[in-house]
């Protein structure tokens, strides 16, 4: 308790530190927003809650890290992870997701949880349990006498995340495939009647989501670090974001992603890094409890 109060007094004594935390939160939040967008996409279109989302991110991160280890620029990791995860997503779709789309929701949840365990344990066997980070070799800029530090890598990650998110949003709005995806999300049966191959739409959506996660993972490896078992925390974060925002509401998903980033930076600073995971999980419970209160007023269950 004492520890927390002294941290608060540090923040009030040096307000410029707040600014630093805010910037870091926004930069990292952009990556959360990107991956949460993918989760909301799959959730909304095919009604599958993908618990392996965080592990897709880790997979993308390890691809980037491996590229860096072989002397290639880790920045190359973004497109490579995007492409690799696209194919990986297709394999997972053919083997698992296709068979559980029409079943009840717990089935898909548990099946993707199984996929998550396979991915994290395989990563653990392949790369070991240490945290790894890819170095882009870009400089850090310091402001306000060293109190505020903005790393060029984080800024680059931010810009890439925003560009990617914009590209996906424009694609969904304007392209023919994007229209088909949105039609399927609205009413799969009507879409089939109108000649849309929903099977193809599902496959495409899942691959797109996996690829987005891969790119997000590449950015995570660049600006932060990756570890085989961090995936679960990412999955929980993304669920918090999407649950708090509501699946149909994409601007809210992106805003909640930024909010999550800022919340985590401040929470981690105030409570200490060892509480980070507990903080995210408690936020999940808080959001679920809040949703429940909201639904109680209209006498419905959160489902």
């Amino acid at each position: 308790m004492h520890h927390i109060l002294s941290n608060i007094s540090v923040l009030t004594a040096a307000p410029v530190l707040n600014f630093g935390l805010l910037i870091d939160g926004v930069l990292i939040g952009s990556i959360f927003a990107l991956a949460a967008y993918g989760l909301a996409l799959v959730w909304g279109v095919m009604n599958v809650k993908n618990l392996a989302q965080g592990d897709f991110i880790m997979l993308g991160g390890y691809i980037t890290w491996t590229l860096g280890r072989y002397g290639l620029s880790p920045l190359l990791g973004v497109p490579v992870a995007f492409g690799f995860l696209w194919c990986f997503g297709w394999v997972i779709y053919r083997l698992v997701i296709r068979k559980v789309i029409t079943r009840d929701l717990f089935t898909s949840l548990l099946a993707t949880f199984g996929v998550a365990i396979v991915i994290q344990q395989s990563l653990n066997l392949a790369f070991g349990p240490d945290t790894q980070s890819a170095h882009s070799g870009l400089p850090d800029w310091q402001f306000a006498g060293g109190l505020v530090m903005v790393s060029a890598t984080r800024l680059l990650g931010f810009v890439l995340a925003i560009l990617l998110a914009l590209a996906v949003i424009l694609f969904m709005k304007n392209s023919r495939t994007g229209q088909a995806i949105r039609a399927t999300a609205q009413d799969a049966r009507a879409a089939r009647v109108l000649g849309i191959d929903t099977e193809k739409v599902y496959a495409f959506t899942f691959c797109l989501n996996a690829a987005i996660c891969g790119a997000a993972g590449a950015l995570v490896a660049l600006v932060w670090n990756v570890q085989p078992f961090f995936g679960t925390t990412y999955s929980i974060r993304l669920f918090v974001i999407v649950t708090a925002a509501g699946i149909g509401n994409l601007p809210a998903v992106i805003a909640a992603g930024f909010g999550m980033g800022v919340f985590e930076q401040f929470g981690g600073f105030l409570l200490g890094a060892e509480f980070q995971q507990a903080l995210i999980v408690l936020l999940l419970l808080g959001v679920l409890a809040y949703r429940q209160l909201q639904y109680m007023r209209i006498r419905q269950a959160v489902q």
């Binding site: 809650k49 698992v96 068979k99 559980v100 029409t102 079943r103 009840d104 929701l105 717990f106 089935t107 949840l109 548990l110 099946a111 949880f113 199984g114 996929v115 998550a116 365990i117 396979v118 991915i119 344990q121 395989s122 066997l125 799969a188 049966r189 679960t232 929980i236 669920f239 649950t243 060892e274 509480f275 995971q277 507990a278 999980v281 408690l282 999940l284 419970l285 679920l288 409890a289 949703r291 429940q292 639904y295 109680m296 269950a301 959160v302 489902q303």
Partner: protein, 357 residues
């Protein structure tokens, strides 16, 4: 139940087999004791998951809570818990026989009741959630309890607690804990058999089949859900208390609240054996545990990859489980007994027309 009837035969067989097993398979008595623990896991998970249709991913909370409550009672009766956990690295603290057994007995009771109270309290938070939200919310509870316990210094934080040492020889210890777990598992089976035959059991099934309709018929569904969870928490809490003393050392992440091992085993065993039946979870636990014990060492580090694959394959390709498959394949075997409960095949199993959602 009529103890002389043919229906009672399986229970007599289990009672006899369970009693002689640790003497016949002497060197495997620990593994068989864990098998009973697995049966408790699967059967308590099935109360919610199978009978009531609420798939929890957080039942491990009560196992760990029982473990810690029992430890705190056992130590707290005679010493200061904070000092004990802080000093256990350097000093060896001895409990007398009377201290050990009185503390343990009291701890078992406290663990069961404490876990049940915890379930009722947690039920206020999670039972307004349905389907996947319930699963994710309970998973959150499990992860949160592991993380919070791991940062709570009074109970030893992440480095855990060394439990009081059993005062007799290791051989006696093995048998003592075996028979505790056996008694727990066996009484749970008898209790569930009775429970599922009462109107309470029917109410659980009604909630599973259509919760809105059940509520409209006047069932106070939330009360039933909380009670059902408290029942499974009671048995899980006692199981945790016994298991904590059996291993002699408890810590939050891998022993008390292992989200990806015991917590998932529960679900996998029930799905493997067959949801919503009395014997399905037992069959699943036996198959899973035997398979795991026999093959685990041959996987050379790939065990958990294999576990993930097993989950995926079970859930995607073999969801009705062994018991469900048997009922589908040989309905005649189950007809006389089930005829009273289920007059006809459940409509859910009827073939869907082509193109239906």
């Amino acid at each position: 139940m009529n103890f002389a009837s043919r229906q009672a035969l399986p229970y007599w067989l289990i009672l006899v087999a369970g009693t002689i097993a640790p003497f016949v398979f002497h060197q495997y008595s620990n593994e068989i004791a864990v098998l009973w623990l697995m049966i408790v896991f699967a059967s308590t998970w099935d109360i919610l998951g199978g009978q009531m249709g609420y798939n929890s991913l957080g039942n491990i909370v009560f196992f760990g809570a029982g473990m810690y409550i029992c430890a705190v009672v056992q130590i707290g009766l005679f010493y200061d818990v904070g000092m004990y956990t802080a000093g256990s690295r350097t000093t060896h603290i001895v409990f007398t026989n009377a201290q050990y057994f009185s503390g343990f007995a009291l701890g078992l009771v406290a663990a069961g009741i404490g876990a049940a109270i915890l379930a009722i309290a947690a039920g206020w938070i999670v039972f307004g959630l349905r389907g996947p939200y319930f699963a994710i919310g309970t998973l959150g509870l499990a992860v949160a309890s592991a993380e919070l316990t791991a940062s709570w210094d009074w109970v030893g934080a992440a480095s855990g607690i060394s439990m009081p040492v059993f005062p007799y020889a290791p051989e006696t210890q093995k048998l003592f804990f075996y028979f505790l777990l056996f008694a727990l598992g066996f009484s749970l089976l008898l209790f569930l058999r009775w429970l599922y035959s009462t109107s309470f059991g029917l109410a659980l099934n009604a909630i599973r089949d259509d919760e809105e309709k059940a509520e409209a018929m006047g069932l106070h569904t939330r009360r039933y859900k909380r009670t059902a969870w408290a029942i499974s928490a009671f048995f899980l809490g006692i199981a945790g208390a016994v298991f904590g003393n059996m291993t002699g050392f408890i810590e939050p992440r891998d022993i008390a609240f292992p989200t990806t091992t015991f917590n998932l085993f529960m679900v996998v065993m029930v799905l493997l054996g067959g949801k919503g039946t009395l014997w399905g979870p037992v069959i699943g636990a036996v198959i899973f545990h035997t398979f795991k014990e026999v093959t685990w060492t041959y996987f050379l580090g790939w065990q958990f990859v294999a576990l993930g694959l097993l989950i995926v394959v079970t859930i995607v390709y073999f969801q009705q489980g062994v018991a469900g498959w048997l009922i589908e394949k040989y309905p005649a075997w189950f007809a006389p007994r089930d005829a009273l409960k289920r007059p006809e095949a459940t409509p859910a199993l009827a073939p869907q027309p082509e193109g239906a959602e």
